[in-house]
């Protein structure tokens, strides 16, 4: 409970006993309601220093609201978090000074030059002239922007903008960076380059908190939490999350009319889940081996031309579909 008689010094919202020195983020019973709607409905998790932590979930499940609370931009309506040792309720300003933030929409001024954007962010974080010179050099190198200092940001390619945005978000050398869908809509090659940069930061001991809809990126994370309708429904290493499906058999079926075959299989006995994975049909037949042996002939007699069937290891994408399905719902 906040103390109404002392608004200048709100109470901290996480007890000291929950926080250890190697924790970058400790979230405890954190909640945010907008009217009747609980966008974040009492979540708990911990991010260790130096981790790449992936925060996954369908659109509208509470990811961005969570990040905004962790960045000290909005206050929780219950519970709270410690971020790099600072309390998001009572020390929001210190939280903001000690983190970097990069969002899906580039936080850059398009009508300023590369240099002017860097200067702007250096100003926000109060860098000294000497420090700025050092950081500027490092970022231009890292983002491969040497020789483009005077170019208008709006004229840069998406890949460059993305690297510049990362540079601006890290100009004050934060030890924790929040990245909210940093690669949304970015082509496969540019995504790969961007993750190389993230891996370098992580290798330097920086903690990264990343949201993404690309399951191949999620697999690069040390640990993941999966949020759905404001609650954490799964957490652990990518391996642990895939273990959710460890006892199930997943078949990858190559069939001429995947969507047609999918419609024919849905709700059939022995079929736990079925969905398209690229051009392939993925069928989870659960622990039943009978359905596995049957599948090609079942599809064949329904008029579908089966070109091949393989048993495959579950991927994080399979786990994602499974977890959302298990909640009874649509995304």
């Amino acid at each position: 409970m906040r103390m109404p008689w002392n608004p200048q010094q709100p109470e901290s919202c996480v007890p000291d006993s929950l926080v250890h020195s190697d924790d970058a983020i400790v979230v405890s019973g954190m909640r945010k309601s907008f009217g009747d709607f609980a966008a974040v409905d009492g979540i708990d998790f911990t991010v260790k220093k130096g981790e790449i932590f992936g925060f996954l979930g369908p659109n509208g499940s509470g990811k961005t609201t969570t990040i905004r609370m962790l960045c000290g931009v909005i206050e929780p309506t219950g519970g709270g978090a410690r971020v790099m040792g600072y309390d998001i309720c009572s020390q929001a300003e210190l939280v903001r000074a000690n983190i970097g933030y990069m969002s899906q929409k580039f936080s850059l001024f398009q009508d300023l030059t590369v240099d002017e954007n860097l200067k702007f962010y250096a100003g926000i974080y109060g860098l000294s002239a000497a420090k700025f010179a050092e950081r500027r050099g490092y970022i231009l190198e890292m983002a491969d922007l040497r020789g483009r200092e005077k170019e208008l940001t709006g004229n840069l390619s998406v890949g460059w903008k993305q690297r510049l945005a990362l540079g601006c978000a890290t100009i004050h050398e934060p030890r924790l960076i929040f990245l909210d869908e940093p690669t949304s809509g970015v082509d496969p090659t540019a995504r790969r380059h961007f993750w190389e940069l993230l891996n370098e930061l992580a290798a330097g001991g920086v903690t990264l908190f990343v949201t993404t809809h690309y399951m191949d990126e999620a697999t690069h994370c040390n640990r993941l939490a999966f949020i759905y309708r404001g609650r954490i429904i799964a957490a652990g290493t990518p391996h642990e999350i895939k273990d959710e499906l460890a006892r199930d058999t997943i078949l990858q079926v190559e069939v001429a009319d995947g969507e047609g075959a999918l419609a024919a299989l849905e709700g059939e006995p022995g079929i736990k889940e079925a969905y398209m994975q690229g051009a392939m049909l993925h069928v989870n037949v659960g622990e039943r081996s009978a359905a596995e042996a049957d599948l090609p002939s079942r599809l064949g007699s329904a008029g579908f031309r089966v070109l091949g069937t393989d048993r495959v290891e579950p991927t994080l994408e399979d786990a994602f579909v499974h977890l959302v399905g298990k909640q009874g719902g649509r995304a």
Binding site: N59, S157, D187, T189, H213, D257, M276, A279, R330
Partner: protein
């Protein structure tokens, strides 16, 4: 997707289509034909000119030179005849947040001149088709990202177009919602509607009948997804090893390793060697002698990510900002 029926008729006949913005040639002499009934994917790096190409085909951007025929009618001279037959969902497609799902559909129906007596039936059919019936009284601003995209698609379909242009319709959408969106596209495909879709997701490109790779304003390749994979020079070998980051520099020392990509926790290498297992054996031995625990080294299928990475020349080009060129007009 099922194979498109071979009616011989062209949905699209693009002839030397070019668009320049000041000194930048965004679309550079594109010639391409697309048979009726296909789902055709447009894939390429950011800034390749995909959106400008789509905007010209959708008659909202005037070509600098060249022409395109949509069902035989010119986008330059007969835009009035093209418009009633197409639907266009741009990246900036916007719904009215304070209108309900149903009101949004009614609004777009009126805008597209749908006869009043048909409006209710069409809206109901589209709501059903896109799985939005139970949400029809909800304000659009309270829909999840995936549902918003489905509503945008339904609004695009209200005029019952024969050809759909979709510009990255699922960017920033979670995996489950993306699947639902593609089920709808498969349904449209079955109805014989031609779909021209730009996407940054290779699993989506894999579901198209044919795809074109676009780079620097030009179509550089056009093939089926299977054909694209066959064009990749070399074989793909998948490597699961205790520490993939440490394995990368080790593998780079081998002259026949052309490229390495990280895929989840595994490495996928493109190798230029015989299919006799010799290279696999050498890679395994080299990794082991470098102190890494090798789980497996095995040949695997090429995927579209690999095709994208190897077949499209990687150039960091300035982004073309065609938004400055003119207002987006829905009709």
């Amino acid at each position: 997707m099922t194979e498109a029926p071979h009616t011989g008729e062209l949905a699209l006949d693009i002839r030397g289509l070019t668009r320049r913005f000041r000194e930048v040639t965004a679309v550079d002499d594109v010639t391409l034909t697309i048979p009726r009934g296909e789902v055709f994917g447009l894939v390429g790096p950011d800034g390749a000119g995909k959106s400008s190409l789509i905007r010209m085909l959708a008659t909202v951007l005037a070509p600098t030179s060249g022409d395109a025929l949509v069902f035989g009618r010119s986008v330059v001279k007969e835009a009035h005849a093209v418009k009633p037959r197409i639907g266009y969902m741009s990246q900036a497609f916007s719904l009215y947040g304070d209108l309900t799902v149903r009101e949004n559909l009614d609004f777009f129906a009126e805008l597209r001149g749908v006869p009043r007596r048909e409006m209710a039936a069409r809206a109901e059919r589209l709501l059903e088709f896109s799985g939005l019936t139970e949400f029809q009284k909800r304000q659009a601003q309270f829909l999840s990202g995936g549902m918003k995209q489905k509503l945008a698609l339904a609004a695009t379909l209200i005029s019952e177009p024969d050809m759909l242009f979709l510009d990255e319709p699922t960017t920033g959408v979670d995996p489950v919602s993306r699947r639902e969106f593609w089920r709808i596209i498969a349904g449209l495909h079955r109805q014989g509607i031609t779909v021209f879709v730009a996407t940054p997701y290779m699993d989506e490109a894999d579901r198209c009948n044919e795809i074109a790779f676009m780079a620097q304003g030009r179509i550089i390749l056009r093939d089926t997804p299977t054909g694209m994979k066959k064009r990749v020079p070399g074989r793909v070998v998948e490597i699961a090893v205790s520490d993939y980051r440490a394995a990368m520099p080790v593998l780079k020392r081998l002259s026949y390793v052309r490229s390495i990509e990280v895929s989840g926790e595994m490495l996928r290498t493109l190798v230029d060697c015989e299919d006799d297992g010799a290279c696999e054996g050498e890679m395994r031995a080299l990794l082991s002698s470098s102190g890494l625990v090798v789980e497996h080294v095995r040949p695997t299928a090429t995927d579209l990510e690999m095709a994208f990475a190897t077949l499209i020349p990687s150039v960091d080009l300035p982004e073309r900002d065609d938004r400055a060129a003119g207002p987006e007009v829905p009709e």
